[in-house]
């Protein structure tokens, strides 16, 4: 095992071909990064940890959508509704059935997967725009369900949830909850990476690349398209459940169509069909508003603010900047952050002979 990939890619076994982290350096970087992440509660404040937790949670849900959109070539504009279903399901399982939160989270994922299979059923027959509208229906049906199902969601007032607890250990602050999220991120991302190396994973990609050829090769289109919805919903459900026990409050307001579009934004910005890209896209979408907000705070009361008489409208800057960033990204970086990251790595690897 060498530190870097040798020029000319010589892989002599399937095992070598399948490896996720091909070089020694990438493994060192992985372990160092993980160690740094686990040490971060000692180094960072609650705010920064909160951002990391959010990135992790959104990353898991975005990965689910990426499996559906990036790997299977389907479309969903109802992802936030499944995310919300996971959040409410976990809160409900704990409150109604007194199941420990640690078990509620995976159970909520499974429940959401079932709901996803139901709403994914049209995917067996629909494609493109038609499928998009079908998933839009899922968004509205679920949203309305959240607002009315008092027994399940607490109605429009929302539901207060309990912090994550395992044995005597309670993760009710950022410093501790980060470990829960990191554990889930590792498991879910490894799961997805491995899924893509199996027959089923390759089948999903085949469906995306050319569904007719896939069918000719003996892939059951209806089965794999619906399965993909189930997997995506499972990831959304896990993300939602983690979100519920982090914020300690779930309310229907959060899971609107805009949030669904944001998930699509994460996947596109991160890179369609890239596992790591999902996490990068989530990081981008979580950090961008914070950066813009910090910029707006700097502007507020300053010379530019006074000159342009921005006043209260400065808060709109945040919304506008987020929109602008997405447009710019689509224009200049259509392959996403994952692609840019590969280019950066290649640049340093080939330096100074990049041409």
């Amino acid at each position: 095992m060498s530190a870097t990939t040798p020029s000319g890619d010589f892989r002599t076994s399937y095992r070598e071909d399948m490896t996720i982290f091909p070089t020694r350096n990438s493994r060192i970087a992985l372990w160092a990064g993980l160690a740094l992440l686990l040490a971060s509660p000692l180094l960072l404040g609650r705010y920064e940890l909160g951002l990391l937790i959010n990135i992790g949670i959104m990353g898991i849900a975005a990965l689910g959508l990426n499996i559906l959109v990036g790997f299977t070539g389907q479309i969903s504009i109802g992802h936030a509704a499944f995310f919300g279903f996971g959040a409410f399901a976990s809160a409900w399982l704990h409150e109604g059935w007194h199941i420990p939160v640690a078990f509620c989270i995976p159970l909520a994922g499974l429940m959401t997967a079932l709901v996803g299979l139901v709403f994914g059923a049209p995917a067996a027959r629909l494609k493109g725009l038609y499928l998009a509208i079908a998933t839009l229906a899922a968004q509205f049906i679920l949203e309305d369900f959240f607002a009315r199902a008092q027994w399940f969601t607490g109605g429009v007032a929302g539901r207060i949830t309990e912090p994550f607890a395992l044995g005597g250990w309670v993760a009710d602050r950022e410093e501790t909850y980060l470990y829960v999220v990191v554990a889930y991120v590792v498991v879910m991302f490894l799961g997805a990476a491995n899924l893509m190396r199996t027959r089923d994973g390759r089948a999903l990609v085949a469906v995306r690349d050319h569904y007719l050829s896939a069918e000719v090769m003996g892939i059951n289109l209806a089965y794999y398209r619906t399965l993909s919805f189930g997997i995506a919903s499972f990831y959304a459900g896990i993300g939602g459940a983690l979100y519920a026990h982090y914020l300690l409050f779930v309310s229907v307001e959060a899971f609107n169509i805009l949030f669904s579009i944001q998930f699509l934004g994460m996947v596109i910005i991160g890179g369609l069909g890239s596992i790591m890209g999902s996490l990068m896209g989530a990081a981008f979408m979580v950090l961008l508003p914070e950066v813009v907000q910090a910029g707006a705070d700097l502007l507020a009361g300053g010379a530019i603010d006074r000159a342009l008489k921005l006043g209260a409208s400065i808060s709109f800057l945040r919304e506008m900047a987020v929109g602008a960033a997405i447009i710019l990204f689509l224009l200049f970086e259509p392959d996403g952050l994952a692609h840019r990251w590969r280019l950066i790595k290649a640049y340093w690897k080939l330096y100074p002979y990049s041409h």
Partner: protein, 429 residues
């Protein structure tokens, strides 16, 4: 000689250090809705709070010589965003928060109780008044750090219903009057629904099924036609001004004859201008003793505050601006009480500052802010509800709100003041 040098050195160090201590600013959070569903009333209220806190810094040199560091955030009426912002603020160690909506305030109750951060909300949900958590009502938990200025939504509605019952008799109405609750399916309009319907039934109203309309402006002709076909006599508008305007206008077009009872956020001078003659006759609670343009000893202070964001001094300030100023001043004075006897400004001491005075009117705000009384287990600051009627007697499309109020085209006319009894069993409801 040596001693003198040491003394001199110590004095020099103290002289350098003192300003640093004095300048240490007090972090305070300010959650606003400037862009969301309730921004129509959130903007003037938020402006009132912001101006008042800036004025306290400028004219009173903050709290005991320490200026306030107000951290404002526009959360767009999205409860989850408020919750995550709350967590971001914990980094700044805010000692108190000026809040806004019902959904987010109720969601944050547990957090502010855990972190001991007094939270002065723009939500007057009765669920926030049960400070000791002794009411035993379902869904109501102890809210020892939640405060607000004014009567709760439920109490304001109870007062309006009492007025409506008298009004029905005075008008010589035959039979049982019909009452209907209108509003979005959202924690804020829902908050006083059960309490209002219960009292209405008790007072002999026939309670009709509630009518739902969204918090955002839209076409509500269907709702008005329902109102008409049901023959409602008194209708409560639970939303904020923006969507209520749509209802008022649609009902005027549909020719609905009904007495509207506005929520405290449901009507103001801007809404009167926008709705025009359709707003004529709406009865709603006003939280201050006077409205802009009227005379009171405290109005001079209010005019100074207004100049913070309007140096020309010409702006007309709607009722919510005044309420925002009073709410901010309660917090400021509670902080001042906390600093008495060289006390630290901690959440707990600020909370106790709210209990320090009976019939509490902030200094310099006499005749503007109504007296409030908070006790350790009852956070119903006041049970006195001043009811006003919006009177629109002409075309409001020309001229500014200030002009229209000055010309008398639009008027806020006092109707009555209802004093409710402080009944223990109604705490938290």
């Amino acid at each position: 000689m040596r001693m003198r040098r040491i003394m001199l050195g110590l004095t020099a160090v103290a002289a350098l250090a003192l300003p640093a201590v004095a300048q240490q600013r007090i972090p305070v959070g300010h959650l606003m809705d400037n862009s969301g569903a309730t921004s129509d009333v959130g903007v003037p209220y938020g402006q009132g709070v912001a101006d008042t806190l800036a004025w306290v810094n400028a004219s009173r040199n903050g709290i005991a010589g320490r200026p306030l560091n107000v951290l404002s955030f526009d959360y767009g009426y999205q409860a989850p965003r408020a919750v995550s912002q709350y967590q971001a603020w914990s980094r700044e160690r805010v000692v108190a928060i000026q809040g806004w909506g019902t959904a987010d305030t109720e969601a944050l109750v547990r957090f502010v109780t855990r972190d001991r951060i007094p939270f002065i909300s723009g939500s007057y949900s009765a669920a926030l008044t049960d400070a000791g958590g002794k009411s035993g009502r379902q869904g109501v938990e102890a809210a020892p750090y939640n405060f607000f200025y004014g009567p709760s939504y439920s109490d304001a509605l109870r007062a309006m219903l009492r007025w409506a019952a008298d009004d029905w008799k005075a008008k010589g109405g035959q039979g049982r009057p019909k009452y209907v609750h209108m509003g979005g399916n959202h924690p804020y309009p829902n908050s006083p629904k059960a309490a209002g319907e219960a009292l209405a039934a008790e007072l002999g109203f026939e309670v009709l099924p509630a009518i739902v309309f969204a918090l955002t402006p839209g076409d509500y002709t269907a709702q008005c036609l329902t109102l008409k076909s049901q023959g409602a006599n008194y209708a409560y508008l639970g939303n904020t001004a923006g969507s209520n305007i749509s209802v008022l206008r649609a009902c005027q077009t549909a020719g609905v004859q009904v007495q509207f009872l506005g929520n405290v956020w449901g009507m103001d001078e801007n809404a009167m201008k926008a709705a025009g003659a359709a707003a004529n006759g709406v009865v709603f609670p006003v939280r201050t003793a006077v409205v802009w343009g009227q005379q009171a000893p405290g109005m001079a202070t209010l005019q100074q505050i207004s100049r913070v964001s309007d140096p020309a001094g010409t702006a007309y300030r709607p009722v919510h601006y005044l309420a925002g100023a009073c709410a901010a001043m309660l917090m400021v004075e509670a902080m001042e009480t906390a600093t008495a006897n060289n006390g630290q400004i901690t959440g707990e001491r600020i909370r106790d500052g709210f209990y320090a005075k009976q019939n509490w009117v902030p200094r310099g705000f006499d005749g503007v802010c109504n007296p409030s009384t908070f006790t350790a287990d009852d956070h119903r600051g006041t049970l006195r509800v001043g009811l006003y009627r919006a009177v629109v007697s002409g075309d409001t499309s020309q001229g500014s709100v200030a002009d229209l109020m000055r010309a008398g085209t639009m008027k806020l006319e006092p109707v009555t003041t209802i004093e409710l009894e402080r009944r223990r069993e109604l705490l938290g409801w």
